[in-house]
């Protein structure tokens, strides 16, 4: 039931773009994206609700394809501060599981000068 993230790791030069994918085998109600820097707690990036909505946060945006049960996180013109591990958390809703997030294994993003 854990969502699958790809790639597992990506290395970029400053200014390059990256896409991180999150796929689920179960129907999704919402997808949450978090970034965690080494030794720190995860920090919220954005939430996408079913409906194919695309959201943006500065140079980071995401899409949610309900039909394909997947979400993608887009990082454009990457900055050194983008380095960290990115996690998607999926909410399959329904009954008592509403609000419970199942996180993917993470994607390690490294941005070099």
């Amino acid at each position: 039931q854990q969502p699958v993230q790809s790639p597992q790791a990506v290395i970029l030069r400053e200014g390059e773009d990256a896409v991180i994918n999150c796929s689920s085998s179960k129907a999704l109600y919402s997808v949450h994206w978090y970034r965690q820097k080494h030794g720190e707690a995860p920090v919220f990036l954005m939430i996408l609700l079913k409906g194919g909505e695309q959201k943006g946060h500065e140079k980071i945006s995401a899409s949610f394809n309900e039909k394909k049960q997947q979400s993608s996180l887009y990082l454009t013109a990457s900055q050194l501060s983008y380095s960290g591990t990115y996690f998607c958390g999926t909410d399959h809703a329904g009954g008592t599981s509403y609000g419970k997030l199942t996180f993917g294994q993470g994607t390690i993003l490294t941005v070099h000068p």
Binding site: H32, A41, F44, F103, G104, G106
Partner: protein, 113 residues
């Protein structure tokens, strides 16, 4: 405004001992989550409290693990008869509701010798 706080920040214990980990959520947040993160791994869901509803305990790995929450405030995660495989960072998060941004605490690093 204080964020989510957890105590202790570090706990070293001997195998077989019981430990209690504490989480103080953000005031007014009805939802509270516990996660476990082993070194280099993703976030493993443990338990979820939402208001006065029965908690979702589906992620607790064994009956040695239990958690309580007093109303909509403090939560305690208890691990009885600790084992070496319990060593991990235990993260607590709170949110305004089920499908809202989760705010994570700094975590408790548990080491079982």
């Amino acid at each position: 405004g204080a964020g989510v706080s957890q105590s202790p920040s570090n706990k070293v214990t001997e195998k077989g001992k019981d430990v209690e980990l504490r989480c103080d959520p953000i005031s007014g947040h009805t939802a509270l989550y516990w996660y476990r993160q082993r070194l280099g791994q993703g976030l493993e869901f443990l338990i979820y409290f939402q208001g006065n509803s029965a908690p979702d305990k589906s992620g607790l790995p064994s009956d040695r693990f239990s958690a309580e929450r007093t109303g909509e405030s403090v939560s305690t995660l208890t691990i009885q008869r600790t084992q070496q495989e319990d060593s991990a960072v235990y993260l607590c998060a709170s949110s305004l509701g089920p499908v809202n941004e989760q705010f994570f605490g700094p975590g408790t690093r548990l080491t079982v010798l």
